[in-house]
Every structure is written in C-alpha cells, then in structure tokens.
C-alpha cells in the first residue's frame, strides 16, 4: 500500500533525525523531524535530506543508525524511529 490509504490520502510517519560532527554543520541543527510516507526506508530519508540546502553535500550512502543500531539504507522505517546520520567515526 506504500503510504496510500483507501481515502486517497498518503499516511505519514515522523522520523527523528540526528546529525553529528560534520553532518551537523551541514544540517545547521542537531536534530530535525522529517515526515515521510509510510513504508519509506532509511535510504528514502537520506534522499529527502539531500534536497535540503547544504545537506546536498551528504554522501548518497552515509553510514546511519536506526534506533541506536547500525542499519543499511534498505531498512524500513516506522513512525517515531530515531535515525542518526553518522560521519566517519574517530573515537579511541
């Protein structure tokens, strides 16, 4: 059904999106709430973000975590999920 409900409306879900380090610099924010149609994947979220100003500089396949765990771009999202965009890491 992919977000389309019987009445013809598109069902949406809200994704809490977090940015760190260089990606935060691009987003100009630590977090944004992004609305996506039901059924969207993490990859769809990235594509949407890359339409926003300086976030065009995001890689097309950045590392990311869904609900605090590394996840592939194919991961299906649910309303209320927290997705973090993760630049190359430098801990230790």
């Amino acid at each position: 059904m992919n977000g389309r409900v019987p009445g013809g409306y598109v069902e949406h879900m809200r994704i809490r999106t977090l940015f760190f380090a260089t990606y935060r610099d691009l987003a100009g924010a630590e977090a944004l709430d992004i609305d996506l149609p039901t059924g969207a994947t993490a990859g769809d979220l990235v594509a949407r973000l890359r339409q926003r100003g300086r976030l065009a500089a995001l890689p097309s396949e950045p590392a990311l975590a869904v609900n605090e765990e590394y996840a592939p771009l194919s991961t299906g999202l649910s309303d209320g999920d927290e997705v973090a965009l993760l630049p190359p890491v430098a801990g230790g």
Partner: protein, 148 residues
Amino acid sequence: MVRALVTRERIDPADVLARVGGDGDGAVLLFLGTVRNHNEGAPVEGLTYEAYESMAERELERIAAEAAERAGTERIAVIHRVGELAIGDISVAIAVSTPHRAEAFDGSRYVIEEIKKRLPVWKREHYVGGASGWVEGAIPPVPEVAGE
C-alpha cells in the same frame, strides 16, 4: 561483568583495573588511549570528543561482549570519555583479564580496533594558534541486513 561506559568525567586507570581480575586469571591488560600533543605533524593543544552518547554506550557494550566471547572471559571493562580533553588526558581505557596472556592481548586489541572502526564518536582537534578541525575518521561498516 562486562562493563561499558561513556563518561564526561576524568578516567581513573586504577578504577578501571579494579573492575577486572580474579583468582583464576594469570593476565591483566590495561590499555589507555591518551591525548597526544601532535597529530600528523600539527601541534595540538586539546581535543573535543563528541558522541552519539546513548548509541555509543550500547555499541561499546556490543564490542565488549564480542571481545569477551573471543577472549573467553567475562572480565572486560571499557570506558570512553567525551567532552573537552587536555594533552595527556585519558580518552579511553580498556581492562581485560584472562587465565592466559594471549587472550588478554587479543581481547584488548579487538576492543580498541573496533572502537576506532565503529564507535559513534567524533573528535575535533584544537591546534596551537586557535584553529580547530574535525579529525578525518573511519567509515563504519554497515550491515547488509538490518539487525545484523
């Protein structure tokens, strides 16, 4: 008894050491990562570590659990500091104890290598003179399938 922690406080090596060891263990290894006064030739005055803290602590737990399984021990403690660090400050401490030494070296090394690859932590260097910049990091390996 595998312990993993992300903290904003100073790390006390004695405290980390005290979390491992046991009457059946013949080897204890403590690794400390410390802030160097230079990086790739540039003099450094301090570092800011930023983390996705909630995930970092979970990821540290996952790494420690993997190392524990490899090394055949439950006695692993790892702590990573975030925030502003000065030269010489400890950024990460890893303690491992095992019956025999090979497993302690292997487990300790595994934890620090995985931290460098996977821990959602970023590092901003403050150079002598006032400039600063994000340290180029490692692209974390992302699973092919969710939850792997």
